[in-house]
C-alpha cells in the first residue's frame, strides 16, 4: 500500500535544522543561577540562629528571675559547663559515638528489612491487604512500648536495644517506600513496559528510581524513628556490661539529680539528630529532587 511517492528528500534540511536550533534556544530555560554564598548564609543561617538566641535569652531571664530553684532550672551556662566538663574529661565523643554507631547499625538493618517489606506491600495486593494496616498502626505505636517486651525477650543486652530500634524504624521505612511507589505516575510504568522492562528488571530500572523521592522521605523519617527508639531503649536498658550511650548517660544524671547534666544530654541528643539530618539526608534529598527538576532554587 506504500504506493505513494514519499521519499523524495528534496527538502533542504539546512533551514529546518536552523529553525529547530532557534526554537530549542528560545524554549530552553536559562541555567539556574546559584545565589551568592553570602546571601545564602544570611537567608539560611541567620533565622535559626536568632531563634536559638531568643530561646537562650528567655531561659536566662527565667533563671535570673528565679522562677524555680537552680537545681531544677540551671542556667544555660551551667548546662554548657556540664558539656564542657565531659569534653575536657575526654568522654563526650565516646558517649555520642556509642549511640550514633548503634543508631546507624540499627538504621541499616531497618533499611535492609523495611525496603523489601515495603516493596512487597506496595506491589502485591494480598500482602498490602494483609499487613498494610498493621504497618500503619505500628508507625503510631510509641517505640518505648516495645521496651518491656524486648527486655523480657532479650534481657539487658544490645539485642534488646536493636530490637526496639528495628520495631520503631522498619514500619516507617516500609511505609515510605509504599508511599513512594504509590506516587509513581502510571505513565512511567507504562513507558517502562513498552521498553520491555518486566519483573525484577522493571523494579530495578523503573520502580525503584521512580519511587526514590518518596523512599528518601521515608528513610529520613525512619532515621528519626531509629534515633528516638534508640534513646527510649537506652534510657531503660542500662547495664554496666553495655556501653554508655546518650540515653544511659542521661539516666545516670537523673539518678544523681544532676539537672544540668540531664539538660546537656537532651541538647546533645537533639544536636545529633539535627546534624545527621542536615549533613546527610537534606543534601541527599535536595540533590535527588533538583536533578529531577522538582526543586526550584529559591535564593
Amino acid at each position: 500500500m506504500a504506493s505513494t511517492e514519499t521519499t523524495e528528500g528534496k527538502h533542504g534540511g539546512g533551514d529546518l535544522a536552523g529553525l529547530e536550533a532557534g526554537l530549542d534556544a528560545l524554549d530552553s530555560k536559562a541555567a539556574d543561577e546559584r545565589p551568592p554564598l553570602g546571601r545564602l548564609l544570611l537567608s539560611k543561617l541567620v533565622p535559626p540562629l536568632v531563634a536559638v538566641a531568643l530561646v537562650l535569652a528567655v531561659w536566662q531571664l527565667a533563671y535570673w528571675a528565679e522562677v524555680k530553684p537552680d537545681y531544677i532550672l540551671p542556667s544555660p551556662l551551667d548546662v554548657w559547663g556540664a558539656i564542657e566538663k565531659m569534653w575536657l574529661d575526654g568522654v563526650l565523643l565516646g558517649y555520642i559515638w556509642t549511640s550514633v554507631s548503634r543508631g546507624i547499625l540499627g538504621f541499616a538493618i531497618a533499611i535492609a528489612v523495611g525496603t523489601p517489606l515495603g516493596l512487597l506491600v506496595a506491589r502485591v495486593k494480598v500482602v498490602r491487604a494483609a499487613i498494610g494496616p498493621i504497618l500503619t498502626g505500628l508507625q503510631s505505636l510509641p517505640s518505648i512500648a516495645w521496651v518491656p517486651a524486648a527486655l523480657i525477650w532479650f534481657g539487658l543486652t544490645d539485642t534488646a536495644i536493636f530490637a526496639v530500634v528495628l520495631l520503631g524504624a522498619v514500619p516507617s521505612i516500609a511505609n515510605g517506600i509504599v508511599a513512594g511507589v504509590d506516587q509513581i505516575p502510571p505513565l512511567y510504568l507504562r513507558a517502562g513496559r513498552t521498553l520491555g522492562a518486566r519483573g525484577l528488571t522493571a523494579v530495578r530500572h523503573i520502580l525503584l528510581p521512580a519511587a526514590l523521592p518518596g523512599y528518601l522521605a521515608g528513610l529520613k523519617q525512619g532515621w528519626a524513628f531509629s534515633w528516638r527508639s534508640l534513646m527510649a531503649a537506652e534510657l531503660i536498658v542500662t547495664s554496666a556490661k553495655l556501653g554508655t550511650g546518650l540515653g544511659q548517660l542521661m539516666e545516670g544524671f537523673r539518678a544523681l539529680q544532676n539537672m544540668s547534666g540531664v539538660l546537656a544530654t537532651i541538647i546533645l541528643i537533639l544536636l545529633v539528630g539535627v546534624a545527621i539530618d542536615l549533613l546527610f539526608f537534606s543534601p541527599l534529598e535536595r540533590r535527588v529532587l533538583r536533578s529531577r527538576g522538582l526543586l526550584a532554587r529559591n535564593g
Binding site: 514519499t6 507504562r190 513498552t194 520491555g196 521512580a210 535527588v288
Partner: protein, 267 residues
Amino acid sequence: MATTLNKPDATTTAAAPASEPAVRLDGVSKSFGRPGRSQLVLDGISLDVAPGEFVTLLGASGCGKSTLLNLVAGLDAPTSGTITVPGGRPALMFQEHALFPWLSAGKNIELALRLRGVPKAGRRPEAERLLELVRLKGSYGKRVHELSGGMRQRVALARALAQDSRLLLMDEPFAALDAITRDVLHEELTRIWSETGVSVLFVTHNVREAVRLAQRVVLLSSRPGRIARTWEVDIAQPRRIEDAEVSALSLDITEQLRGEIRRHGQH
C-alpha cells in the same frame, strides 16, 4: 473489510500485500467493565499497516484511538479478534514525553537499548547517533527538565527508535506542543520516517496533522470505535500543513468527521 477507499487507483494495492504487514488487526473488539454491563469501545477493527507505511488513525473523543494503540502495544488484550505484530514488540510514543526524570536524555535512550539487550560498549555511541538523528547532538547529558517541550518529544522519539522496532506507535505525540514546534516536528518525523523506513501508526484528533503526515488516513467513528472510512493521501512529501492539497483533503475529511460526531447528538 469495513474500509471504503475513495481513491479507485488504490484498491489494487489494498488486496493482500506481498510482504508481511508490520501489524495486522483482524476483527479487533474491546469492551470495558463487567460482563453484562460492559461498554463496547472498539468494534471489529480490521486494519493492516504495510512495512514502511505511515498510517494515521483519526477520530473524535471516545473513538477508542488510544485503546487501540494500547492493544497493539500489548499493554492490554482485545476482548475478541487478533492482533499480529510480526516484528515483535512495537515502540510506543505518548502524548506526554514519558522520559524518566532521574536519567539524562542520553541515559533514557541507553536504558531502551539496554532493555533491548544491546551490550554496554555499544550503547553510548548508539545513543549519540540517535540524538544526532533527532538533531539533539550535544544534549546527551541534559536533564529532562532542562529541555523544551519539543526537545523532550524528540528525545522520546529517539528513545522509541532505540527499541529498533519495525513498528512505531504514536499516541497524539505532538498534541501538547505549540503550533510552530509541532510544525517543525512534523517535518522531522517525516524525514526520520523516510530515513529509517519504520512503519508508523499515528493516532490524532487533528485532521490536518493526519493529512500532513500520512500515506493513509483511517477515520474512526465514536462509541463504539469502528473504521468509518479510509483515504489514501497521494500528496507528495515533503508537504506542509498549509498546502492547498492538504487543506482540500482535510476539509473533506473534517466534513465526514463532523457527520460522525453529529450522529451522536441525534439520540
